[in-house]
Structures are given as structure tokens and as C-alpha cells.
Symmetry: D2
Subunit: 134 residues, 4 copies
């Protein structure tokens, strides 16, 4: 299966990524670019996007990039720094790159930018690479 086929298959069953309104802009082995528009139901008590929104976008980007190689991967440990607020109706660009790919472990970095190309969050995630193919 091609990276695009794998991610199409993943998205079919991924109800939460669909709720987020993720649009896949580019997908390759180990990397992807996503888009997402911030809706009112994504906001927290400060009237900015809940930290879980940018985390979830980053985690989806990690999953798509890591699985696009063809082997099923699950995330083990991930971290995110929130550096600028995300406002209602912001259009977010999510960029995932591969830092490392070994036999059983992969590391990915994800940056999210708003429509003014200002970074809003930075994520690092480690995945376990299984032997199961898509």
C-alpha cells in the first residue's frame, strides 16, 4: 500500500480525526502536512483552543507519518510545548518530520503554525514499530 492508501485507510476508522476536521495536505513515508480550522467546540475556559486540540493534531500527524512506511506503529511517549494561543477560526498547518527511524523505535517532531506562519506548538513523539503490515 502507498502512504496515501495507508492514511486513507487509517482515516476511515478514525472518527476523532474526522471530528477535528483534519485535511491531509501531503503524506510521505515519515512525514506529512495537515490542515485544520479551529471551531468553537474546540475552545477551553480561556476562549482559546484547548491544549488537547493541538496535541491531538500532532498525535494524528505522528501516526500518519510513522505508519506511512507500511508497518503498524503505536505511540509510546509524547510531549508538547504550547507557546502561543490558538484562537477561534484560526487555520492551522501541522508539519511532521521524522527525526529517527530504527527497527523498533521511531522519533517524530511536529510543529503547528497559524495562518500568520507563527508557531503555536511543538511536539516530540516516540513510537514503537511493530512487525504488522498495513
Amino acid at each position: 500500500m502507498s502512504p496515501k492508501d495507508i492514511v486513507d485507510e487509517m482515516m476511515k476508522g478514525d472518527a476523532f480525526s474526522r471530528w477535528l476536521g483534519i485535511e491531509i495536505f501531503d503524506i510521505q513515508k515519515g512525514a506529512c502536512k495537515l490542515k485544520c480550522a479551529v471551531r468553537d467546540e474546540m475552545l477551553n475556559g480561556h476562549h482559546i483552543a484547548h491544549g488537547g486540540i493541538t496535541y491531538s493534531l500532532s498525535d494524528s500527524a505522528l501516526a500518519f507519518s510513522a505508519n506511512a512506511h507500511g508497518l503498524k506503529c503505536v505511540s509510546i511517549e509524547t510531549s508538547i510545548a504550547h507557546v502561543n494561543p490558538v484562537y477561534p477560526n484560526d487555520n492551522l498547518s501541522v508539519e511532521c518530520t521524522e527525526v529517527y527511524r530504527g527497527k523498533t523505535i521511531g522519533i517524530y517532531a511536529v510543529s503547528i503554525f497559524n495562518q500568520e506562519a507563527k508557531i503555536v506548538s511543538r511536539f516530540k513523539g516516540t513510537v514503537h514499530i511493530s512487525e504488522k503490515t498495513w
Copy 2:
């Protein structure tokens, strides 16, 4: 304002925590217990809860606990390890405790358990404590 008043105020504007169906079970200065039932729209392509769900619950628990002291706090850097899968209809218990509270920095640990008291994720988060009161 009491911890309960602060969190009620936070929840009023927190559309995403309401979407998650968070039920606040206990709230004190620096600690809280939340409940959440896993719905189909929270699932990912593996038919288990998206990692963003347990992260979001942990981040809400962090926010409630840190803000319950009365000063407004924002999270700076957070990490989560996903150790067991979360299935549809699982009833999750979220427990947040305070590891450290200084003048400008606080650290919180959050564990999430399923209905069989099995841990599913562990989160650590660092917040910045502002001088603004609730």
C-alpha cells in the same frame, strides 16, 4: 472563590471539556478527580481511543487543579505515556496530584485508570502561575 466555584466558572466557557463529557468528581487546591465515558467519536483508526482523548482529559485535570488555588495558570510543557489501550464505552477515572507548587511554576502528575482500575496513561505537566486571580 472556592476551588469548586473556579472550576464551575472554567467549565462554563470550556466547550471542549463539555464535548469530552467530563464529570468533576472531586476538586481541591492542586488536585482533582474526573470521570469520562468513552464514545465512538473519540476513536482512532485502530478502534481504540485516540491518544488525544487521554491527553485532553489529563490537560483539563491539570488546568482545574492548578487554577483551583485562585491564580490563573497556563500549561507550558506536558508529556504523556500511553500504556494500555482505551476501548469504546470504557469509564475512565482521571486523578491529578500536585508534585510541586512554587511562585511561578507548578508541576502536576495525572494518571488515568479504566473501570478495572488498570492504568491507561500517565501525564506530567508544568504550568506557569500568573498573578491574575479568578
Copy 3:
């Protein structure tokens, strides 16, 4: 081998833990308590302990606790928050507890306190558990 035998064996080859002057106070399956006195050669340009010192103590505590079960473990991803400065001649107490132990993954939390029982750092670490025995 008992937890104590395993850690004695680990310490024999662990030149860096010996350089740190680690004293093992208590060791059990999944938990340990260490002591360490801060020397001048551990300081950074601010004349406080380099962040690498508390990280290294935490990482050794993680390794001892995780390996004490009898299977060889290696750390995958770890994070640390430095919350209070560590001064020359401080006597540090390092406490590691097990958050989770599965078949292939373990999670450990480490807090370090100074001689006034004030917390100076908090660490979370995820290890991979191999099938090799000590």
C-alpha cells in the same frame, strides 16, 4: 538474583554513577532511594548544579528500579523539570517509584529533594523491558 545483587552488579560496571558518588539507600523491585552529595565539579556557569546532575541521578534511579525485577531494561524516553536550584554541598535524596509495569514497557517517576526536604526536580521515564535476565 535479588534486587540488591542486581544493583551491586550494575554499580560495578557503572563508572559514571560512581563518579556521581551515588549511595544506594534502599532498593526493591520497582523502587529505590539514593543519596548524593553535590561537589564543585558538578556545577554549571550559574554556580548551581548542572541540570545534567539531577537528570543523571534520576536516570540511575530509574535504571536500578526497573532492572531490580530481574529483566534487563533500557530507557526509551525521559523528561525532567528542574524546579529549585541545587547548591554546592547539598545532600540530595533521590526517590524512584514505579507508575506502571507491563510486559514490555515500564514507567517510573523520580523526585529529588535537598537536605531541607524541598523538591528540586521531577522526572518521568519510560523503559523497554527486554527478555534478558540478570
Copy 4:
């Protein structure tokens, strides 16, 4: 003070970075390249470099890069993934880049490579930027 002057000043008091044998190869505002040769006293019980060594190198690289702008910075929360073993006599290259620089918060990524240009660790760190100048 220039980035080089600041880092020279930092290194003067930084006994632990000197113990590590850090050689500063390149220093700019927000970025640096360091070199380090692995000695026997840096090894752990598996006869590879202790995880604290690559963490310490990464943390020094973060400190040099963040402080080179001219304002004093301290690290708040940092994480590292160890992906390949570091052997005795390895010659390590440490590369730090700036992911984000705001008014009070900065984020840095550090990769360490061995003499075969193979990545051995990846670090992400968040610093607090004070108003004190060097």
C-alpha cells in the same frame, strides 16, 4: 557581549561542562555545535555511555544557545529519547537549533550524532527567558 563572549564566560564557571570535555565548535544566537569524546568514566553498567552524558551535553547546548541572545535563561522542562548506544571513545557531535523564541519562553531541539553521523539521541527543551543581561 557577543555570543562567543557569553559562552566563554559561561564555560569559565561551568566545571561540569569542562569535566565532560565539551569543545565549542560553533556558537550563534539560538544555535550551537559542540564536540565531545566519550571517556571510560562516562560509562554505565552496560558499558555504554550513561544516559546522563548525552542529556548533559544536550542541556549545555541548550544553555549556550538560549543565553547567546544576551538574556539569562534557565531551563524549565526538558525531554530526551535515547535511540542508539554510545560507545567508549565515540566522538559525539551535538547540534542545537532554536524552534521558538518568545519574550519569556524559548524552545530548543538538540540532536547528537556519533562519528558515523548516526543519531544517538534527540532532546527538546523549554527555557524561561529572564530580563537579566550577560
